[in-house]
């Protein structure tokens, strides 16, 4: 099972750590977690992908959907610490041209 841990960092910033497979089963769940976070005022989100061993198109789709959700709320979404497979999916799909993966703390600035 995939798990999601949400850590509040600032009033408008939270980190979502995903552990497990970010696939079609987990995608709707991530969507809900993000919607909840944004609803509670966390318009800036970092999705920490270090614990994701596998991501498919649905998982990637959920990340893009999350980017849209945060942008609509006037915030932004960054992704951090993708593993090898996740980085490859990002690269093959060209999504890394829009959603650039950060090494670690994505909202240092």
């Amino acid at each position: 099972m995939t798990s999601f841990h949400v850590d509040d960092v600032r009033i408008d910033l939270a980190i979502i750590r995903v552990v497990g497979r970010l696939n079609m089963v987990a995608a709707p769940e991530l969507r809900d977690v993000v919607a909840q976070a944004v609803k509670s005022g966390k318009s800036h989100l970092v999705v920490d992908l270090a614990g994701v061993e596998f991501m498919d198109s649905s998982g990637l789709g959920a990340l893009i959907g999350a980017l849209k959700t945060t942008r609509q709320a006037g915030g932004d979404l960054r992704i951090a610490a993708p593993g090898e497979q996740v980085a490859m999916v990002l690269q093959l799909s060209n999504v890394d041209r829009i959603l650039k993966p950060y090494e670690d703390a994505a909202f240092r600035d």
């Binding site: 498919d56 198109s57 789709g61 959920a62 893009i64 980017l67 609509q72 999504v95 041209r97």
Partner: protein, 658 residues
């Protein structure tokens, strides 16, 4: 259970023999067709009446190309061998799409969907957002999906939007799509999921069959030739079509399509924005009067060009636009500094004495910072550019969803989606076994609306993403898609085929040099072989209704071409209408729906009378008259299908009266 047209598997030997016989007829028909049309162009166009001769020879050329594409389709129209066994443990979502169909009808389909053998989850996708359907779904224990608040004020994209919305809320590996009236049999997934053991298969389409249509099929609802030889032929060339319902799709393939579409749309939007901004800057630079402004603006334009080049070279959009933004801020700062220096110098030369304007010291720095922040910058164009770059939209804010897996470029999302799947290297399968039964429209009006929508959607795809040019398709795939699009252009040819004989019979205008032996020697063998090919290809299926309708509803085809063109190039809305599933019966003759056909029929009959009169009184050419009368009679027989259509009062009523 035995159903009409259901595939009865023949042995490979028999099937091979049948296919070779068919190919022989295809070759013969194409050769004779070319023989005829080449002779028509080179030797028989009556140039003195070019205004009808040329349209006629063009129409004939259209038909020969149509025949060629049909022949190519038939070349590989063969049955598939039995599918591999369905995998164990696959997850499946069954989607039932509805908009305004009666609740009972939807629930009937949902109950049947629940009885599908293979483990799955059933969902009702209610675009009508009806409380009673939501409650009923809960009672049946099927999922219920409707659009959320994110759709408010955004384009809804009809059925494609409904499906895309549900795709984001469900999680099955495979998705069976059913229209609200399409009642599935329990074995449908057992017989289709096996194909997906090939990792590249994204789609398995099964036939659409309507159980509320009498044997005579007055509205031409069944499409046995399409859901049979034509789809098998397309399948043979690796291009089995997706037809919107009764099909199983692979989620991964759809999501991949959605992501590719998102990246492309975002890149396009960003590049568009940047080019727009560069245009503003260049125009302003040309108008600028002083040297400083001109320099700043041309440097800005250079910075944008460099950003565009970086993106073109594959550098991340985020990076390129971030660098550009920093450079613009710097330029803006410089411009303000220079402006201030200029003002200070002016003041100095006027000898105003102690003034506060200067660029030295803390006060000056603060002023520069204040002035160069967007609103106060003296170079207005820079402001416009800065805000444009800042507003670069990676969230697809004009759409409710970032990902649109089902194509939204056309009112026939199915064809557009399948074409993109094929272009991305996915495969499709046509499984020729009826496992779903639905309802056809029961009145002419509704039937015509449905045909109009299909034709409009197809022409939209042809104009927006022409398969001849779409990257990634194989040549046969291109031709299989193009073939269907080409066939929807037939309305124009039909008009010429009606006008030409009318002109000959009433006024003696001859579009062909002669109706003597050279004509017959080329035309007759072609015509005979053409008909034989059609009979062989259709394998005894009832295809005559389809042939009649292709000709008889020519105004619908023309309207579709015109309205879709106006829509694509002029942004004129199509007035998209959902084909109603019930309450479609006509209770009057609805002659208004076939006005043009009535006009055509009267003109054709009058032409025959005129032709005979001219033959008797003026001794006009007898063979020409005969050919043209024969021609007109064919048109009239085809049009006659509408007599039954306007008098048709629906399936139950028809049966009850017997």
């Amino acid at each position: 259970m035995s159903l009409p047209y259901s595939s009865t598997y023949t042995s490979d030997a028999v099937e091979n023999k049948r296919l070779w016989v068919l190919r022989l007829w295809v070759t013969l028909a194409v050769v004779l067709g070319l023989n005829y049309v080449v002779w028509r162009w080179l030797a028989s166009v009556n140039w003195s009446a070019w205004w009808i001769s040329v349209p006629l020879v063009l129409a004939e050329t259209y038909s020969i190309i149509d025949l060629g594409l049909f022949g190519m389709t038939m070349w590989r129209a063969r049955q598939r061998s039995a599918p591999p066994e369905a995998p164990v443990g696959a997850t499946v979502d069954v989607f039932i799409t509805t908009y305004n169909e009666p609740v009972d009808l939807v629930l009937n389909t949902a109950a049947a969907a629940q009885r599908i053998n293979y483990p799955h989850r059933t969902w009702i996708l209610d675009d009508g957002d009806r409380v009673e359907l939501r409650d009923a779904a809960a009672r049946l224990d099927v999922g219920y999906v409707t659009r959320g608040h994110e759709w408010a004020g955004k384009p809804r994209h009809a059925k494609a939007g409904n499906l895309n919305n549900a795709l984001m809320q469900t999680m099955g590996e495979y998705i069976l799509i059913l229209d609200a009236d399409m009642v599935p049999e329990p074995q449908i997934l057992d017989l289709t999921l096996g194909y997906f053991s090939d990792d590249k298969v994204a789609l398995v389409q099964t036939p659409q069959y309507f159980n509320n249509v009498p044997r005579s099929d007055p509205l031409g609802s069944q499409a046995p030739l399409f859901y049979g030889p034509i789809q098998q032929g397309k399948d043979g060339w690796g291009a089995a079509f997706f037809c919107g319902s009764n099909a199983v799709l692979r989620r991964e393939a759809l999501m991949e399509l959605g992501i590719l579409g998102y990246v492309t749309a975002t890149e396009k939007a960003v590049l568009g924005r940047l080019k727009e901004a560069r245009g503003i800057v260049r125009r302003a630079a040309r108008k600028a009067t002083d040297e400083t402004t001109r320099t700043t603006l041309s440097e800005t334009s250079r910075a944008i060009s460099e950003a565009l080049a970086q993106i073109g070279n594959g550098e991340p959009i985020g990076e390129a636009t971030y660098v550009l933004q920093s450079r613009l801020n710097l330029l803006s700062h410089d411009a303000v500094t220079q402006d201030l220096a200029q003002i200070a110098a002016d003041l100095d030369s006027l000898d105003v004495g102690d003034h506060d304007i200067g660029i030295n010291g803390a006060y000056g720095d603060e002023m520069v910072a204040r002035l160069s922040c967007a609103q106060l910058s003296p170079v207005n164009e820079l402001v416009a550019v800065q805000s444009t770059v800042r507003a670069i939209d990676v969230g697809r804010s004009d759409e409710a969803q970032a990902l649109l897996p089902m194509a939204t470029i056309s009112v026939t999302e199915d064809m557009a989606t399948a074409m993109r799947l094929h272009a991305n290297g996915w495969k499709s399968v046509y499984h020729n076994e009826i496992m779903v039964e639905g309802l056809a429209p029961e009145g002419l009006d509704a039937a015509l609306t449905q045909r109009l929508r299909w034709a409009q959607g197809t022409v939209q795809v042809m104009l927006k993403e022409n398969p001849l040019f779409l990257r990634g398709l194989s040549l046969p795939q291109r031709l299989m898609y193009f073939s269907t699009m080409w066939s929807y252009l037939s309305g124009f040819a039909t008009v010429v085929y009606m006008v030409a004989p009318i002109l000959f019979l009433t006024a003696g205008v001859l579009p062909v040099n002669s109706y003597a032996a050279p004509f017959f020697l080329r035309f007759l063998p072609f015509m005979v072989v053409n008909q034989i090919l059609f009979i062989v290809a259709s394998r005894g299926l009832p295809t005559w209704r389809g042939q009649q309708y292709t000709l008889a509803i020519f105004p619908v085809w023309i309207k579709a071409c015109v309205s879709a063109t106006a829509n694509v190039f002029g942004g004129v809305p199509l007035n998209f209408a959902v084909t109603p599933k019930s309450g479609t019966r006509a209770d009057s003759l609805q002659l208004g729906k076939v006005t043009w056909q009535i006009v055509a029929a009267i003109a054709l009959i009058a032409a025959v009378i005129a032709g005979i009169v001219r033959l008797v009184v003026l001794h006009s050419e007898p063979i020409g008259t005969m050919v043209n009368v024969g021609w007109v009679l064919y048109d009239l027989v085809a049009l006659s299908v509408l007599v039954g259509a306007v008098r048709y009062r629906g399936f139950a009523i028809e049966r009850g009266s017997k």
